[in-house]
């Protein structure tokens, strides 16, 4: 076991453990906090994989903005105590069976894929840095980033329209 493998094993255990805790928490607020922890652990993994810019985006946008939105809606609706009891008695075993089947198929596909390099190639110092990713974003991917900005604008307008109280029915 190299130190890298031990580090990866630790991160993997933390990520899977927090994901399972998210899944089986009774309280939706705890679920959201476990998911924040999971995103932060995955951001550390991104940092270790030389994706510094994406790691920072993950922390600010995912663990920050998106999860705050989740927590806000959970507390607005007061939906944190809905029990996770399945409506039919077959729901739990069926969900576990289908999840395990999907994992088996994915694992088979990934473990028997044409082998990549056993040892990862060395990276240059600025691989994945904000400057490199940014210049790539605004040169080669200029049109997609404009489309993404329009998409964000449309979703913002859509969210406002959807949550607007109906006319003549004051709440």
């Amino acid at each position: 076991m190299t130190p890298d493998l031990i580090l990866f094993a630790l991160i993997a255990v933390l990520a899977v453990g927090s994901a399972l805790a998210m899944l089986f928490s009774r309280n939706a607020v705890y679920s959201a906090l476990f998911l924040v922890f999971n995103f932060l652990v995955v951001a550390v993994l991104y940092l270790l994989l030389n994706a510094a810019f994406i790691a920072m985006v993950q922390v600010t946008v995912y663990a920050g903005a998106i999860m705050v939105l989740f927590l806000f809606v959970v507390m607005l609706l007061g939906g944190e105590q809905i029990s996770g009891k399945p409506s039919t008695k077959w729901q739990l075993p069926l969900a576990l069976i289908f999840g395990a089947a999907l994992l088996a198929v994915l694992g088979y596909m990934l473990l028997f894929r044409p082998a990549g390099a056993v040892s990862l190639p060395a990276v240059t110092a600025d691989f994945g840095s904000p400057a490199v990713v940014g210049s790539e974003l605004f040169r080669r991917y200029l049109v997609p980033i404009e489309i993404a900005s329009v998409l964000l604008l449309v979703s913002m307008v859509g969210a406002i329209v959807l949550t607007r109280p109906e006319k003549g029915k004051p709440e």
């Binding site: 899977v16 994901a19 810019f53 995912y62 490199v132 979703s155 949550t163």
Partner: protein, 101 residues
């Protein structure tokens, strides 16, 4: 960090499967949404792993776009949850079985 890409892909597969189980199992609509975010995140992890193996910035750029789309999706999805809660006074997805308003 120098671990084989297959390990990272297996971690992504495990996280994705946990997300799928969450969508199938939970009835709270908000937790179903969180499980979908977990699945998106697993896909991102696979992209980053391949970007590291192939030394390509394109994978990281794609993850950036995925995060932007996920943000848009969450904004609209949570607005839908709030709108449904207004009419049904519940966010149990078993109650959302009719298309009438």
């Amino acid at each position: 960090m120098n671990v084989p890409t297959a390990y990272l892909l297996m971690l992504a597969a495990v996280l994705f499967s946990i997300g799928v189980i969450g969508v199938l199992l939970r009835r709270n609509a908000i937790i179903v949404f969180m499980s979908i975010e977990l699945m998106t995140n697993a896909g991102n992890l696979a992209f980053i792993a391949f970007a590291r193996e192939l030394l390509s910035t394109a994978g990281q750029v794609f993850v950036f776009f995925t995060i932007a789309v996920a943000a848009a999706e969450v904004a609209v999805g949570l607005a839908l949850v709030v709108a449904i809660f207004r009419t049904k006074h519940s966010i149990d997805i078993d109650q959302m079985s009719s298309l009438k308003g």
